[in-house]
């Protein structure tokens, strides 16, 4: 081994040390020399990552919807995803929630849970909540009943037949009703709510499950400016307690909430950084303004 090779190695090591995540020790918060048990079904975020996708590929009839996607999200982070139509944003959420199987690649929730091994209801139970593009609430049920259905509890048939919320669960229901500004409409039929209120109700239903990671697909689409502003407020209050991944086209909304933005294009990451950084990126401008 030559001295210059050793020198290069030392430099590389130095560099790695400086880009280590803030608040993380090199051993990922563990004391040296001790192993840990990976607890089944529990999200392990000691490595500073709650979601981790590596080299994911999906194609539908030859069309590469996701093409070598690498992406990761830290606990408590609010990440915005933007990209032109067909960039693979919704497909990516489908993969994370188990709706679509990737052809190849790795998808981890925390450091220990391989999401590709679970089905949709199991992934929801692990703590990943998803809000769809179109608000889907149970229209025939009341706002309160919608939230009660989503409550994190034993969801087997027998328990559901005799279910009645405990005091603690009632507090939680009241808390979420307040958070989503629907406390006055608790007994209203969900189908009668305005579009924006349905979106909030759906977010509320996600919160009832107390998810660690929230996937939100165009949450402010079709909202009035006032509703959008209140939604931004809501998301900022959720940040830190939950990790959020928001797909959105509304740039002013993203400006209001984002710290880090990821640009997807043709099924892989094109750019990442603050909104100003990615907006200044030439490749991003090219994708958005057309070639």
């Amino acid at each position: 081994m030559t001295p210059d090779l050793m020198e290069a190695g030392a430099q590389r090591f130095e560099k790695l040390q400086t880009i280590a995540l803030p608040g993380q020790t090199e051993s990922g918060g563990r004391s040296a020399g001790y192993g840990r048990f990976a607890k089944a079904g529990e999200v392990d975020t000691t490595h500073g990552r709650i979601l981790y996708l590596e080299d994911v590929h999906v194609s539908f009839d030859g069309f590469k919807a996701i093409n070598g996607l690498n992406l990761d999200i830290a606990p408590g982070e609010l990440r915005c995803i933007i990209g032109p139509n067909g960039a693979g944003k919704t497909t990516m959420m489908d993969i994370i929630t188990g709706k679509t199987r990737p052809d190849s690649g790795t998808v981890f929730f925390g450091s220990t849970i391989d999401l590709l091994r679970y089905r949709e209801p199991e992934i929801a139970a692990l703590g990943i909540g998803r809000k769809f593009q179109k608000p889907t609430v149970f229209e025939q049920l009341s706002v309160f009943e919608n939230l009660e259905l989503a409550l994190a509890t034993d969801k087997r048939v027998g328990r559901s037949m005799v279910f009645s919320p405990t005091g603690e669960e009632k507090d939680r229901l009241a808390e979420v009703l307040t958070t989503i500004h629907l406390a006055d409409s608790a007994s209203r039929q969900a189908g009668l709510l305005s579009h924006g209120q349905k979106q909030w109700l759906e977010i509320g239903m996600l919160l009832m499950q107390d998810p660690k990671l929230l996937l939100l697909d165009e949450p402010v689409a079709g909202m009035t400016d006032e509703e959008t502003a209140r939604t931004a407020e809501l998301f900022l209050s959720l940040k830190g307690k939950h990790s959020l991944m928001v797909v959105e086209h509304d740039m002013s909304f993203i400006r209001a909430i984002s710290e880090k933005v990821t640009v997807l294009c043709d099924g892989s990451v094109l750019a990442e950084g603050s909104l100003d950084e990615v907006q200044a990126d030439e490749r991003v401008i090219e994708v958005y303004l057309g070639r």
Partner: protein, 370 residues
């Protein structure tokens, strides 16, 4: 904001005041008024309830149980079954086997075996008749046979995520296959004649006025019991999950529910209810044959439910009474037009009265108040 200040909606009572008085009145009519009018009031009085009407009403109450069962699976869960006639017939056949054995040596051939077996020159009872002598076993089998068939069929159908019209067609095919099976003499179920000519139940003569009334009261109590049970089911969180499955199944999965056991449970409950209705029906009408598994029989159950009003519970019961009342009149007055009438009724209800009769009444009430 103070979260404690928010008043959460509290669940209402199992039966609203109106529903409670309705059930009480029905209970009184079934257990006291009808028996008194039939047994105590002399036959020449205008208030006398004729044996014919007792038989007809008893029959319709069995149909109403089927309609209620159909409402749970179709109205509340959104799964249209066109095979509920099968479960009804299975319950009926189990009861029929017991009644056949009760005939004893009083049949035409004075044999230990049922007449049709003698006719086929069989020397001993086939294996599946082994439990038909015991009334207790019969009661168990009335629940178990339709329940088990529904459970196994439902498990595979729901696991394969068969939905909508495909599920309806498969249930129809299953019922038709069963019809063909029961038509065969080798099946040991009386072939196309089925079972009839019953003499006794629990050793007591079956054709007396008192026995008819007893069966009538039992059917009425079963119907009311099932109504209250269905109300409880629908008002529980289980019932709300069913409605959620009907409206947005994928959303239910994302809420962390596995829809399979939910669908399977309500499907099996619904089938068992139909089976019990069939078992109450057979001693009252005195015959069971494969005709109960015909395509039309299963579709009629769906028509009763639609006419009365899906997802209302009381609607299907009303629907069963209305349609069958009309049927017993029309098939006498204009026998050849009954099926046309039924078809037109189904189309008209689907097009103009999606909520059925009950929906219409609700609408008028609202209109009156406004």
């Amino acid at each position: 904001m103070n979260t404690a200040a928010i008043s959460l909606p509290t669940p209402g009572p199992l039966l609203t005041r109106g529903a409670f008085s309705g059930v009480m009145v029905a209970l009184l009519v079934v257990c006291a008024v009808a028996p008194a009018l039939n047994l105590l009031v002399p036959a020449d009085s205008v208030f006398h309830l004729s044996d014919y009407l007792v038989g007809l009403l008893g029959k319709i109450m069995c149909y109403a149980i089927c309609a209620l069962a159909m409402d749970l699976i179709w109205g509340y869960t959104g799964i249209l079954s066109l095979g509920h006639g099968l479960f009804f017939a299975l319950g009926g056949y189990v009861m029929g086997m017991y009644l056949m054995r009760q005939i004893g040596r009083d049949g035409n051939y004075q044999s230990d075996l049922p007449d049709f077996m003698v006719f086929l020159d069989w020397k001993e009872l086939p294996w599946h008749w082994a439990l038909s002598d015991s009334f207790i076993a019969t009661l168990l089998l009335i629940v178990l046979v339709p329940g088990l068939v529904a459970f196994v069929f439902g498990y595979f159908a729901f696991r394969s995520r068969i939905k909508g019209v495909y599920f309806s067609i498969i249930t129809q095919a299953l019922t038709f296959a069963a019809l063909l099976l029961f038509f065969r003499n080798e099946t040991g179920m009386g072939g196309n004649n089925g079972f009839t000519d019953f003499k006794r139940i629990l050793g007591m003569p079956i054709a007396t006025q008192e026995m008819r009334m007893t069966l009538f009261v039992m059917t009425g109590l079963t119907l009311l019991g099932f109504y209250v049970f269905a109300r409880w089911l629908v008002a529980s969180k289980f019932g709300r999950v069913l409605q959620a499955i009907r409206d947005a199944e994928s959303r239910v999965m994302f809420c962390g529910y596995n829809p399979l056991p939910y669908k399977l449970t309500i499907w099996t409950i619904s089938a068992v209810m139909c089976g019990i209705a069939g078992a109450l029906y057979v001693p009252q009408v005195g015959i069971i044959n494969p005709g109960e598994m015909s395509t039309a029989a299963s579709i009629e159950i769906a028509v009763w439910t639609a006419v009365g009003g899906r997802a209302t519970l009381v609607g299907p019961i009303v629907g069963a009474f209305l349609v069958n009342g009309a049927k017993s009149w029309l098939t006498v007055a204009f026998p050849e037009f009954w099926l046309y009438f039924l078809g037109v009724l189904f189309i008209a209800v689907t097009l103009w009265m999606p909520q059925g009769v009950v929906g219409l009444v609700k609408k008028f009430k609202k209109g009156g108040q406004a």
